[in-house]
């Protein structure tokens, strides 16, 4: 019975990782951490087939990238291979001044464990590329067809870097996967990551020279419900979008999200309810130059219609003087009967809702800035 289950929330922050655990009621929480104190933890995620197997991306401006692995649910960790070397001659992408710039590895933004094998993990890195381990992190190999996509030499980083930040695996088709890159766009592979197709038709970005270009769009995040892998939701630099054709065509579903200088829909996170494939969540942020909630009110917006019709969720969230941000990987849902929704802020709060967003409570209030939140539903 799922109400007797437990949840484990994996939080990556600017200064370490934290693990928050509760029973199915999700009212009382045990907090452990900081793990890897003082390091940036861009992402921590568990294997869907072995929940005690966790992977963490640990990095530092001084000492570079490490990958840590746990086999006991985060009680102990061991460093595994941290060698991310681009396949062959890396070539160049476009630099900020428009000149060619050699591909340089900087960090791992996102770790996506396989849906079927705890030793297989995909890593999205900056400068944008996709790596995979098939031996539990003992070695990493680039799936260079991603970076070698025909448009790759023209990708140009945004202010946040050229990061491959989103990896979605199709549970019904093990060969199909989706990724997204800041300031490049969304891409799909139908052959296990060997070759890729840009899937950005319908995206319109007025901040790039050709608003309807094949690539160059600043996709912030994407989400998918596992029961309907052909339906994708996207939070772009501006605009929330959906695709009912696995990314072949997108349409904006900003609807009644807060208006901001004639536009709507700026934000970073997006996620889907565990049991309702048309219920989605975003956290609108004021403009691309301010990056905090509208009117100082922290509001999660929920649509039960897959977009367009949105309702603000405010119960338990600060409704004045709140100027935090919610970053792209900092929202997740559990799969208990009453779906839990979780998100972390740059102010160090992790909020939880045990009733699909109707009400919220902070699990912790004073962590370092939160970079990522993942949730495991445990038997």
């Amino acid at each position: 019975m799922k109400t007797m289950s437990k949840v484990r929330v994996l939080v990556g922050t600017r200064k370490g990782a934290f693990i928050l655990e509760s029973d199915g009621k999700r009212q009382k929480w045990d907090v452990s951490g900081p793990h890897f104190a003082g390091w940036e933890l861009y992402h921590v995620k568990g294997s869907p087939v072995d929940p005690n197997r966790l992977y963490a991306s640990q990095s530092s401006g001084w000492f570079g990238q490490l990958i840590q692995r746990s086999s006991d649910g985060g009680k102990t960790w061991e460093p595994v291979d941290n060698k991310f070397v681009y396949d062959g001659v890396p070539g160049t992408h476009k630099w900020y001044d428009g000149t060619p710039h050699p591909w340089e590895f900087k960090r791992v933004w996102h770790l996506e464990p396989s849906l079927t094998d705890p030793d297989t993990v995909y890593a999205g890195v900056e400068d944008a590329a996709l790596f995979r381990t098939m031996d539990g992190g003992k070695s990493w190999q680039e799936l260079s067809g991603m970076r070698g996509h025909g448009t790759g030499s023209g990708w140009q980083p945004g202010a946040g870097g050229l990061g491959l930040h989103t990896i979605i695996l199709d549970p019904k088709d093990p060969k199909r996967m989706f990724i997204a890159i800041s300031a490049a766009g969304a891409f799909r592979s139908e052959d296990g990551g060997a070759t890729w197709k840009a899937i950005n038709r319908g995206l319109r970005s007025e901040y790039i020279p050709d608003p309807d270009a094949e690539v160059g769009h600043c996709v912030h995040h994407m989400a998918m419900h596992p029961s309907r892998p052909g339906v994708l939701f996207m939070q772009k630099h501006w605009d929330v979008l959906r695709s009912d054709s696995a990314g072949d065509l997108w349409k904006e579903v900003n609807g009644n999200l807060p208006e901001d200088a004639g536009k709507r829909g700026f934000g970073f996170v997006i996620d889907v309810h565990a049991h309702e494939p048309e219920t989605i969540y975003v956290v609108p942020i004021k403009s691309d130059s301010q990056h905090f909630p509208h009117e100082g009110k922290l509001r999660v917006y929920r649509s039960r219609t897959g977009g367009n019709d949105w309702e603000p969720l405010t119960k338990g969230l600060p409704q004045r003087d709140c100027y935090v941000n919610v970053l792209r990987d900092a929202m997740a849902v559990d799969s208990l009967d009453s779906c839990g929704v979780y998100f972390g802020t740059t102010g160090g709060q992790v909020y939880a809702s045990a009733d699909a967003g109707d009400s919220w409570m902070p699990i912790v209030r004073d962590l370092p800035a939160v970079l990522s939140v993942e949730v495991q539903t445990l038997a």
């Binding site: 401006g61 001084w62 000492f63 570079g64 490490l66 460093p79 941290n82």
Partner: protein, 103 residues
Amino acid sequence: MNQAVIRVVLPAHLRTLAKVGGQVELTVAGPVTQRSILDALEARYPMLQGTIRDHVTQERRAFVRFFACQEDLSHESPDAPLPDAVASGAEPFLVVGAIAGGM
């Protein structure tokens, strides 16, 4: 062959990573240089690979510095002999995280 016992002091984050307490003592065969010290260090503590110098180019990471005998040796050739006091173990070789300025 000449074998010296070298003392190496690591920054706190790397001591934690390598699970060492104070300074590390290493036996280095042949000339004592930055490269030979780091080769010996990484052979003993493989988890440090990539944290002090780049995996591929073997160049010092930008915000890591090498000090010894009150001197900053960061910009010396990795194959230049280190001071005799380091080679004899009288003085430690310090791996230092550069000053951040407030991060």
